[in-house]
């Protein structure tokens, strides 16, 4: 973090494990709002429960609302409707937003209220000890799928797009410039904007999938990323273990 961004932080260090992708995502989020020159007084961050929900709370120096597991988007909807001057950005995890909170996510996309949702997707439940999430790739090992997950994961960008979101994007945290750019676009979208960040979790995901070495884990995730063009040539089943990166909009 360069010193120029420190005014966005109220903590000296985060609670994230070393090597966690969420620290990079935090940096992307604050750079995006900094570059957009958003009036901080009217900037609200909302999060649910889980590691990614700790990205804004308590780290970011702005109004923050750290809510219940899964409900962040519903809280954000209430805040935005009650005070439309607020720029409302939800930052939360894949399990929070798409498992326990899946219903709120699709309805917010359907209503197309002016919210931005940033999903830190670490493909696992980090905080509770490494259990399977709806975003866990097929074959990945977790505390609740020690033999490897057999169920296909959500393609969250496709889910919110199908529900009506005008803008969605997915990038790994190894592409910070793309992430910053997409977060800015999502905030500027007049309606529901969604950005999914593929964020490595060394502690829970790496450890269980023989990717203890940080470089190996990052290389592994980057290797699973395919562009939308490449994805077109692949079978749907092949994509259940991969991340299609890029932007989706009208």
């Amino acid at each position: 973090m360069t010193r120029a961004m420190e005014h966005w932080l109220r903590t000296e260090h985060t609670a994230f494990c070393s090597g966690c992708g969420h620290g990079i995502l935090l940096g992307c989020v604050i750079r995006a709002v900094d570059e957009l020159e958003i009036d901080r007084k009217n900037l609200l961050f909302v999060s649910g429960i889980g590691c990614a929900a700790w990205i804004p709370s308590p780290n970011i120096q702005a109004d923050t609302l750290h809510t219940l597991h899964g409900r962040a988007v519903a809280y954000a909807t209430g805040a935005k409707l009650a005070n439309p001057r607020l720029t409302v950005i939800v930052v939360s995890g894949d399990g929070d937003l798409s498992s326990i909170g899946g219903n709120h996510l699709i309805h917010a996309a359907r209503r197309n209220i002016d919210l931005t949702v940033v999903c830190g997707n670490n493909q696992i439940y980090g905080m509770t000890g490494g259990q399977t999430a709806p975003s866990t790739p097929v074959g990945a090992r977790t505390a609740t799928d020690p033999q490897g997950n057999v169920y296909r994961p959500f393609d969250l960008c496709a889910v919110v797009r199908a529900a009506g979101a005008p803008y969605a994007a997915r990038w790994p945290v190894t592409r910070p410039m793309s992430l910053i750019d997409s977060i800015k676009k999502a905030v500027k979208t007049d309606g529901f904007g969604f950005v999914e960040a593929i964020s490595p979790c060394p502690t829970q995901f790496g450890r269980r999938n023989r990717l203890d070495d940080l470089t190996k884990l990052y290389d592994h995730l980057v290797g699973l990323c395919v562009t939308r063009e490449e994805a077109k040539k692949m079978k749907p089943e092949q994509l259940w273990e991969r991340f299609v990166i890029g932007e989706y909009h009208d």
């Binding site: 109220r10 007084k41 009217n42 609200l44 909302v46 709370s57 308590p58 120096q61 702005a62 109004d63 923050t64 609302l65 750290h66 809510t67 219940l68 899964g70 409900r71 519903a74 809280y75 954000a76 909807t77 209430g78 805040a79 935005k80 409707l81 009650a82 005070n83 001057r85 607020l86 219903n103 709120h104 309805h107």
Partner: protein
């Protein structure tokens, strides 16, 4: 006395009360027998400058309510049993974050889907103890269309005054009752203290209620449902912080019981038997007491307008004064059990869980049986 007199349904009167109290946000989900509140505010709240939204479920409704309250709104929802059960999660969040909001519960026969269109009062214990951990909501119980209006206004004021979720615990019979109501303005409106310089989650002030700035006020708020210190920083492994926070959010309500508790006492001065009732049952109880008086029985009525905090002092005052207490209610004795905790004398429960209101004659018969 100001305000025009109209004939309204109880549920509509609650919606009018919300508008009169300055409600600016409503989020809800359709559920019998409360939907008339949702529908009336869908029509009237946007015209009054507020925001209305039908959410995807009750988990979302109460979440939106709390989000809106922190954005500066006075917010309300209405529901019934199954929806209330879903709201227990968000109720705990509202309690620990000290968020003012109003929940109108039009009680119906449960458990589960039960009888959606039939009356009951089975949610009394649930609102007090249904969310995990210790918290202390306020709950008021109207017996008339007028009180649907008046107590909704009072619920807003108490919620703001004490930064706490406040319930209007009505029932299907009062909710769907049609009678005249004066839509008066003979009340003060309590506004939130939005001081951004003092901590929003802790205070040494004797009333235990810190100021509550809104998002956008420049307070850089840290609101969390985890245990937090007075500025909102998570303190999830500090025994003292947890003790202090949980203690204060309960104490600030219990210490003000005298301000919050309201009862309606009739014919009690010389009574040998007291009927303790609330909600629609209060009407049958009053009719029963009058009939008993005509028959020479010295019966009295203590109608509980406030259910939470429980009117302990008022109940204790009956002990020794009356010989017997009869508690008619449309559940299996939820309030009778509470009354027993505060008196040594005989407390007789008259339970009815058939989806119908208790007739005065049932109360008359019970009192006579108890005195025989």
């Amino acid at each position: 006395m100001s305000g025009n007199v109209q004939i309204l349904m109880g549920n509509h009167a609650a919606a009018e009360g919300a508008l009169a109290a300055g409600c600016t946000f409503y989020a809800g989900y359709p559920i019998t027998p409360s939907s008339e509140i949702l529908e009336r505010l869908a029509e009237k709240l946007p015209a009054a400058g507020g925001a209305f939204i039908q959410m995807e479920d009750e988990l979302a409704s109460i979440s939106a309510l709390v989000g809106a309250a922190w954005a500066g709104a006075k917010s309300m929802t209405a529901t019934s049993g199954p929806g209330l059960s879903l709201m227990m999660e968000g109720l705990g969040y509202a309690a620990i974050t000290e968020t003012p909001c109003v929940i109108v519960d039009i009680q119906r026969a449960g458990p589960a889907t039960g009888q959606a269109t039939r009356v009951a009062s089975g949610d009394i214990i649930q609102v007090r103890y249904g969310s995990h951990g210790d918290y202390c909501p306020i709950a008021l119980s109207p017996w008339s269309v007028q009180e649907m209006y008046d107590l909704t206004i009072r619920a807003f004021n108490l919620a703001e005054r004490y930064r706490v979720p406040a319930f209007v615990m009505s029932d299907e019979s009062v909710g769907h009752l049609r009678e005249s109501v004066r839509l008066h303005r003979d009340f003060e409106i309590v506004e939130r203290n939005r001081d951004i310089k003092k901590p929003p989650f802790g205070t040494d002030a004797p009333d235990g209620v810190p100021p509550m700035p809104a998002f956008g006020d420049g307070a850089n708020l840290l609101v969390t449902g985890s245990t937090h210190d007075e500025w909102g920083y998570r303190r999830v492994d500090h025994p003292d912080q947890h003790t202090r926070l949980v203690g204060r959010i309960n104490k600030k309500i219990l210490d003000h019981a005298d301000d919050i508790v309201e009862v309606d006492a009739r014919f009690l001065d010389d009574a040998e038997v007291a009927v303790v009732a609330y909600g629609f049952t209060g009407r049958s109880a009053l009719a029963a007491v009058k009939r008993l008086r005509k028959e020479g029985v010295r019966a009295g009525l203590l109608r509980l307008i406030t259910l939470w905090p429980f009117p302990e002092k008022e109940i204790r005052a009956l002990d020794g004064q009356v010989e017997k207490i009869v508690v008619p209610e449309m559940n299996r004795g939820q309030v009778a059990g509470l009354v027993r905790q505060h008196v040594r004398g005989d407390v007789v429960s008259l339970c009815q869980t058939n989806g119908e209101a208790i007739e005065p004659v049932a109360i008359v018969d019970k009192v006579q049986e108890v005195l025989a």
